[in-house]
């Protein structure tokens, strides 16, 4: 398993799905570990009941079917697929509605889904997912000329049982990002990657679980977005400049004594 995780840190992030299926065929006995520890790009399905799209992941899967958070039904239909309790389903429904508004405000589009299920020790686990694809082709005249971009966010929160008005929250978040530009003047440029972080907090439940979970996710998403932009992309840019320092650029273009 350690070697498998080692490989996943080195393989190109845009080949994650192929890497995972390769590992699954080499290590069939570790398949459940591999599937739970390696995040893969999110897939989407159509809820035939209300025409809405929902996100697929390990947490809403039962056999070969996936449960839609909108209709609470499995697609394709599954007779005795596991469902959350009525109480938890109520929170799940509310979370889906609110998270959709949150998603719209930050992502201006995209798809989101929230899934919840009971765990063994009287708490529950919630999984918040966002999938956002950038515009497929460059918008005329706009800088950047983004041709393909994808952002997948996976937030899994374990919520402990309530004790004296407090609960323990453990959030694990993964962001997977890929951006490609492609044009004749500058060739293909692809930056992609994934990062995962954890955050734990003990919070008063007075304002409700959703409020606490939401704030943690919002903070985490902000942090991860920032590190991707500043640290991760910054480091790769730094590397390019180490390979070929741009100092020469200034000389060559001979800008008359500016800056």
């Amino acid at each position: 398993m350690e070697a498998a995780m080692g490989l996943m840190r080195r393989m190109p992030p845009k080949l994650t799905e192929t890497s995972l299926s390769a590992l699954l065929s080499l290590l069939p006995d570790h398949s459940s570990d591999l599937l739970s520890q390696i995040d893969q790009p999110l897939q989407v399905m159509h809820d035939t009941d209300n025409g809405k799209e929902f996100i697929l992941c390990e947490y809403n899967r039962d056999a070969d079917s996936y449960r839609s958070p909108w209709s609470n039904k499995y697609h394709p239909p599954l007779e005795d697929g596991s469902l959350p309790s009525a109480k938890l389903r109520k929170l799940e429904t509310e979370a889906n509605d609110v998270f959709a508004v949150y998603r719209d405000q930050y992502y201006e589009g995209g798809i989101s889904s929230v899934y919840m299920w009971e765990d063994e020790n009287e708490g529950f686990i919630a999984c918040f997912l966002v999938k956002k694809d950038g515009p497929k082709s460059g918008k005329g005249g706009r800088k950047g000329n983004l041709q393909e971009g994808a952002w997948d966010a996976i937030h899994v929160i374990e919520v402990g049982p309530e004790e004296e008005g407090m609960a323990h929250y453990c959030l694990t978040s993964t962001i997977m990002l890929s951006m490609t530009t492609d044009d004749t003047s500058s060739g293909t440029f692809n930056l992609s990657g994934s990062i995962r972080r954890q955050m734990t907090m003990d919070l008063a439940v007075a304002e409700g679980h959703l409020c606490n979970m939401g704030r943690m996710i919002e903070e985490m998403e902000g942090k991860l977005r920032n590190s991707l932009e500043q640290v991760y992309f910054g480091k790769t840019k730094e590397m390019v400049c180490t390979l070929r320092p741009p100092a020469e650029l200034a000389q060559l273009l001979t800008v008359p004594d500016s800056v």
Partner: protein
């Protein structure tokens, strides 16, 4: 955990194929680490050795890895252009042939090149002049750059009248695993000397990769092709003209890479996820009831599409 692998599910051939896939997709400077993990996962020395034996030579040639001669007489680039046999690579500058161990990525022995492995004096004049100019340029532009100029077609042309083709290979790699960062710049310039038309056609491919993997895995993969041409001139003049052309295209490319990077925050990134919500304030989690309410109302009023 149990290791009761059911034999027959994945054949040895498939395992070799998968192992090769992992090895070939290793980022610059990381194949040895990948090899270690692949070996641990396969738990089959034989399968691993076959996969490594097939994958390493391909990887080494694709990445233009640079090996030191055992006698400290310089470096040799491993490229398909300098390949004499599977494990023999010529260094045209020193007229030596390196005998290499692909999997260990070392040069074991060195021998002088035979006459038939070297170009004619006429071609060598062009090759050598270009090598001198390119080396000067690479020394200035790439702190860790290595370059080589090969003759790939027409190396036996003795005098003006026939076409020939040179290839310039530039390879600069920086590996600092302790800082979780590796990267490489590779460029290949195919230079066709067309004697009849008295023109030199140039086609180049530049490829840049970078990998940062401290608590994550982020990779840059960029590639650009360019084309140019110039007039056929004597060796020294051609060498100067070609080098300044290559310098120009590579500098342009570097600046376009920087533009791509500086465009990220404002356009690309913002299109995916904003730093702040459209409302420019943090999301009102304490007051989300309003959203459910407005939804209910709009549903009742039939406003919900």
């Amino acid at each position: 955990m149990s290791e009761s692998e059911t034999e027959g599910e994945v054949s040895d051939e498939q395992k070799i194929g998968i192992a090769k896939w992992f090895l070939l997709n290793s980022p610059s400077g990381e194949i040895q680490y990948v090899a270690k993990d692949v070996k641990a996962i396969l738990k089959d020395e034989n399968v691993y050795n076959i996969a490594a034996g097939e994958a390493f030579p391909v990887y080494n040639k694709e990445h233009f890895i640079c090996l030191q001669f055992p006698n400290r007489s310089g470096d040799v680039l491993i490229t398909s252009f300098g390949e004499i046999r599977d494990n023999e690579y010529i260094d045209p500058r020193t007229c030596q042939v390196a005998i290499v161990d692909h999997v260990k990525q070392v040069c074991k022995e060195v021998r002088p090149a035979n006459d038939e492995e070297l170009p004619s004096p006429y071609i060598e004049e062009y090759r050598c002049s270009l090598d001198v100019e390119i080396s000067k340029y690479v020394g200035e532009a790439y702190p860790k750059g290595v370059c080589s100029v090969y003759c790939v077609t027409g190396k036996d042309v003795e005098a003006p009248g026939d076409n020939f083709e040179l290839v310039v290979v530039i390879s600069a790699a920086r590996h600092s695993p302790q800082n979780f960062c590796n990267g490489s710049w590779r460029s290949t310039w195919n230079i066709e000397f067309n004697d009849e038309l008295q023109i030199i056609e140039v086609k180049g491919t530049m490829q840049v990769g970078a990998h940062y993997f401290e608590e994550g895995n982020v990779q840059l993969d960029a590639k650009h092709d360019s084309k140019d041409s110039t007039i056929f001139q004597p060796p020294d003049d051609s060498a100067v003209a070609l080098t300044s052309m290559i310098r120009y295209h590579e500098t342009e490319y570097l600046s376009s890479l920087q533009t791509s990077y500086s465009n990220l925050p404002d356009s690309t990134f913002k299109d995916l996820r904003r730093k702040l919500p459209v409302t420019r304030t943090l999301f009102p989690w304490h007051n989300t009831l309003q959203f459910s309410l407005t939804r209910d109302i709009s549903k009742e009023l039939g406003l919900d599409k």
